[in-house]
Amino acid sequence: MPQNSDKNKRLVSLFLLGAVFFNYPLLFIFNHKSYVLGFPILYLYIFSLWLLMIVMMIVITTRRNSQATKRSEP
């Protein structure tokens, strides 16, 4: 299952990256009372990161399909 294992690696890497970005010490950088565009910076950071992760998941899971169809073409 070469396609699956590609996806596997990408998702596991995403998990590892996420685990780092959602924790200390990166969290520490944003953990203060300031506001960006009127939003508290910590919430803004967490929610943007969250959204980014979901987008990455969409990219990773749909990418496999497009590759699969490409492969079956020739």
């Binding site: 996806k7 998702l11 200390y24 910590l42 919430y43 967490i46 969250w50 979901i54 998941m57």
Partner: protein, 901 residues
């Protein structure tokens, strides 16, 4: 304010709607038109994760401790990214093994151990009942709020029968029975249930978003406006940041960790994500749909928290109730009702699925094994156990709901929603080492899993559950404040003096330490039994095995068919059993079925069917009772086979490579030998003329008196022999060139007939010298070919000289012919010599090969002539071969394709 006589029918109507949806879902599934078989429903059913704790509790937690409420949803988001890796494996294993609960999964992995399943079931029940209780609490509290009862303190004064939460609990139990265990199903899949849960997930999200939008955009001018207002409000001081002490980040990380475990191992999540999964591929979309859902339901937590605090600054309002109180305070009747229903959806969904999951464990691992052991011998063989089984299921559903209710009445009162939930999270996190270790590590043993689970669970009891009960007055407060028997080191929240992190992080650390080290340590010091090893291989290598190969490696034995049928019938009902067996016979292609004996394939299939109904451990026990024999020799062998299968595969590859190497080596050796032969042949051939040249010149030198005629004769021989030498050397050089691939052909359009004539003319002297009759049969009107004149001439002359050499010495006869064929011209040179045997037909075209023992000794060749001829013909895209039999003469033939006009 709502009148009770409106609210109660309204709630009942909503639950009625759930019944209808579940009924519809079941019906459609039965008709084969599943409405739940798509990734969206799958993702929504996973959202049963969001309970009343999310719906009401998130806001409360945000007010109390800032952003840390988000960890509960960040953990699962991270975990689904791993989902493809871990969850998909669990799903695949559970499907092939007919696993229906976490207890079943763990028991099955470690050799179908009933003990292990029992321990897991007990842990799950104790761990989850507090969680169920907070759902009931949420229903009860929200109801009391709606009818204007005020704060929950008054609740204790209502009698049980007057408590609506009790009725709701009973109704939920009935729902669970109807749609979760109406009958025993081998797959334990309940599409109607899934449909209802997915619907509830939509309702709770919609309700939460509705109240969020209302609060943010109707009461206030957006999120930024709310944030602006929050600045400077003392109660909201801690809302936007985590505490700055280092422990806060540790707490944060541990909460993410336990939520990661919870999303996989909470019994209700396992039920929804694994057992009710219809198609593995649904994971693909669910991987991002589910986190999206989690994010959506969290967006408005912060605005609602701020708005709540701003609206009720002085009143002692529990922040857990802000979601409901805000629209109520603004007199938004419909919105309030919607929110109430949303909260109910969140609670009821959790209660229903959790009870079903727990009841499966209780009946399969706590009650059934007990009954089977105690009463099996007395149970008559015709006794229908399926009704007993169902009764046990139903009773355990009621029992679980009842326990949840009792817990809520006596202990749950004193807690905000979230803290109880996290206690349950830590409890189910105890399953993680055994499950995750079990699917990746074959060396893990039953004893290891049991030690790990028990150790982790005991530490959990001590560091979370007992102190939790203490708050409910079961134990004296000094247990927490001073430790048991005043031993400060054993204070449950500060075990061995560990402080600086919260209770959840504290407990998670100690439980995981105990659990993992016992699990790994004991596993390393014990050996798995055959059964454990078999299951370990099936679990760990699930993706390496083909579908057909996914059967147990152990020989399940044979049984009599009527025995097997009656056994299945007793648990599944007679007709279902007959149908299941009939289906197997229709689809199975292996083995022949007679009417009396069930082959091993059928026995193991039956065991799987039973596993779906009563769990793997009991199924194993039951099947063993009817087995004819248990051949220990064979499973031993099978085991060894399995272990060595990989080794064998590897050694096969090695053998192949070795054989190839050997072959290559042989060829090299052969070539080397041939080269040696060739050199000795060539040197021998060179030596003969050289010797005669030398001896003749020596004679001429030493005897100047030799007469002229003699001298002339000798000189003639010297000239002839030198010519022969030159010819030999040219040929060797020639061949060397061709062999190195450096043959250059000067192609032009040629008439092959002319070339043959020229070749004959050039060989005329040779033919006449040997008194040979030459017959030619050459077609003059042959089409032209494309070729190198000199090379082709060389080929023909070589063939003629061979024919001359080998033709019969007395009345030698050679015939040369040229024929036009459909695509090419064929030249044949026939002699009437000694012929060549079959083996020689191919060999003579190889370099350095000569037909030895020619007798007359007329062999003048180098063993290269034919090899060169072959190369030349092949470069002309032709073919050369010989037709001959010993004693019958031989015919050399070659073809050259002609140029189509």
């Amino acid at each position: 304010m709502f009148a009770a006589n409106i609210l109660i029918p309204f709630s009942l109507a909503y639950i009625g709607l759930l019944f209808a949806i579940a009924y519809y879902g079941d019906r459609m599934a039965k008709l084969g038109r599943s409405i739940t078989s798509n990734p969206y429903i799958y993702a929504l059913s996973m959202a049963v994760y969001c309970t009343a704790w999310t719906f009401y509790g998130s806001v409360g937690r945000a007010v109390a401790s800032g952003p840390s409420f988000l960890t509960i949803y960040i953990g699962p988001t991270l975990m689904v990214a791993l989902g493809w890796f871990v969850l998909r494996k669990i799903i695949r294993i559970s499907k092939t093994q007919h696993i229906t609960s976490i207890a079943d999964f763990i028991a099955s992995r470690y050799g179908k151990s009933p003990t292990l399943g029992g321990v897991v079931s007990i842990m799950a029940v104790i761990g989850i009942i507090p969680y169920i209780s907070i759902q009931l609490k949420a229903i009860s509290t929200s109801y009391l709020l709606m009818i204007g009862y005020g704060e929950p303190e008054t609740l204790l004064k209502t009698a049980i029968l007057n408590d609506k939460a009790f009725f709701i609990a009973v109704i939920l139990a009935v729902f669970s029975i109807l749609f979760g265990s109406r009958h025993l199903d081998v797959t334990e899949r309940h599409e109607g249930l899934v449909a209802a849960i997915a619907f509830e997930s939509i309702v709770k999200l919609a309700a939460f978003l509705a109240v969020g939008i209302f609060v943010t955009y109707e009461l206030h001018a957006g999120i930024r406006d709310l944030v602006e207002h929050a600045k400077g409000v003392p109660q909201l001081e801690n809302l936007f940041t985590l505490p700055s002490d280092p422990g806060a980040y540790t707490n944060w990380a541990f909460q993410i960790f336990v939520s990661m475990m919870a999303i996989l191992f909470l019994p209700r999540q396992f039920q929804m994500a694994v057992v009710e999964n219809i198609n593995e591929k649904h994971l693909n979309k669910a991987i991002w749909l589910f986190p999206l859902y989690l994010m959506a339901i969290n967006i408005f937590v912060l605005p609602i928290a701020i708005a709540g605090v701003l609206h009720f600054p002085d009143l002692p309002v529990n922040p857990d109730t802000f979601v409901l109180k805000l629209p109520m305070a603004e007199n938004k009747t419909l919105l309030t009702l919607f929110v109430f229903i949303g909260g109910m959806s969140a609670s009821t969904g959790m209660v229903i699925v959790a009870t079903i999951a727990l009841s499966t464990m209780i009946s399969n691992y706590l009650v059934m094994p007990f009954l089977l052991r105690l009463r099996f011998l007395q149970l008559s063989r015709r006794f229908d156990l399926s009704s007993i089984l169902l009764t046990i299921r139903w009773a355990s559903i009621f029992l679980v709901v009842l326990c949840g209710y009792i817990y809520f009445r006596f202990i749950g009162e004193f807690y905000p929603l979230v803290s109880i939930g996290l206690i349950s999270f830590v409890a189910v996190a105890q399953f993680a080492p055994s499950i995750i270790g079990g699917i990746f590590w074959k060396g893990a043993t039953r004893s290891g899993a049991l030690s790990g689970l028990v150790a982790g669970f005991c530490v959990w009891i001590y560091t979370l559950f007992l102190p939790h009960l203490t708050h409910g007055g079961v134990l004296p407060d000094s247990f927490i404040t001073h430790g048991p028997f005043n031993i400060a080191l054993l204070k449950p929240y500060e075990l061995f003096g560990l402080t600086g992190i919260d209770q959840i992080a504290h407990s998670t650390f100690w439980t995981m330490l105990a659990n993992i080290s016992a699990y790994v340590g004991v596993s390393l010091f014990t050996r798995p039994t055959r059964m454990e090893h078999n299951q370990a291989v099936l679990f760990v290598d699930i993706f390496k095995r083909s579908e057909a190969n996914n059967e147990s490696l152990l020989w399940p034995g044979t049984a009599s068919l009527p025995d097997l049928q009656s056994l299945l019938g007793r648990f599944m009902g007679k007709r279902r059993a007959e149908n299941a067996l009939k289906r197997y016979r229709q689809t199975s292609t292996t083995g022949q079925h007679d009417d009396l004996m069930a082959d091993p394939g059928l026995v193991s299939h039956a065991e799987k069917l039973l596993t779906g109904a009563i769990g793997s451990a009991s199924a194993r026990i039951m099947v063993r009772t009817i087995l004819k024999e248990e051949p220990p020799g064979i499973d031993e062998v099978m085991n060894i086979l399995d272990e060595t299968r990989q080794v064998i595969a590897h050694s096969h590859e090695l053998e192949k490579a070795t054989a190839e190497l050997k072959e290559a080596n042989e060829r090299l050796k052969e070539l080397d030998r041939l080269k040696d032969d060739f050199i000795s042949t060539v040197t021998h051939e060179l030596k003969t003329p050289l010797t005669s040249v030398r001896s003749l010149t020596e004679i001429l030198h030493d005897h100047p008196e030799i007469d002229d005629t003699r001298r002339k004769e000798y000189l003639q021989i010297i000239v002839k022999e030198s010519e022969r030498l030159t010819r030999l050397i040219t040929q060797v050089l020639n061949f060397q060139k061709i062999d190195a691939g450096g043959m250059e052909l000067y192609m032009s359009r040629l008439n092959l007939a002319h070339i043959i004539r020229d070749a004959i003319a050039a060989s005329q002297q040779l033919i006449q010298e040997n008194n040979i009759t030459l017959v030619t049969d050459i077609e003059n009107i042959a089409p032209e070919i494309e070729g190198d004149r000199d090379r082709l001439m060389q080929v023909i002359m070589n063939l003629i000289s061979n024919a001359v050499n080998f033709s019969s010495p007395e009345n030698g006869r050679i015939s040369i012919a040229l024929q036009v064929q459909s695509h090419d011209l064929q030249v044949s040179v026939m002699d009437n010599g000694i012929g060549i045997d079959k083996v020689g037909h191919l060999e003579i075209f190889e370099k350095f090969k000569q037909i030895k023992n020619i007798g007359q000794g007329r062999s003048q060749g180098t063993g290269l002539g034919l090899a060169i001829a072959k190369k030349i013909v092949e470069h002309h895209e032709g073919r050369i071969w010989v037709e001959s039999e010993p004693g019958q003469g031989s015919t050399f033939k070659f073809t050259i394709p002609y140029v189509s006009a």
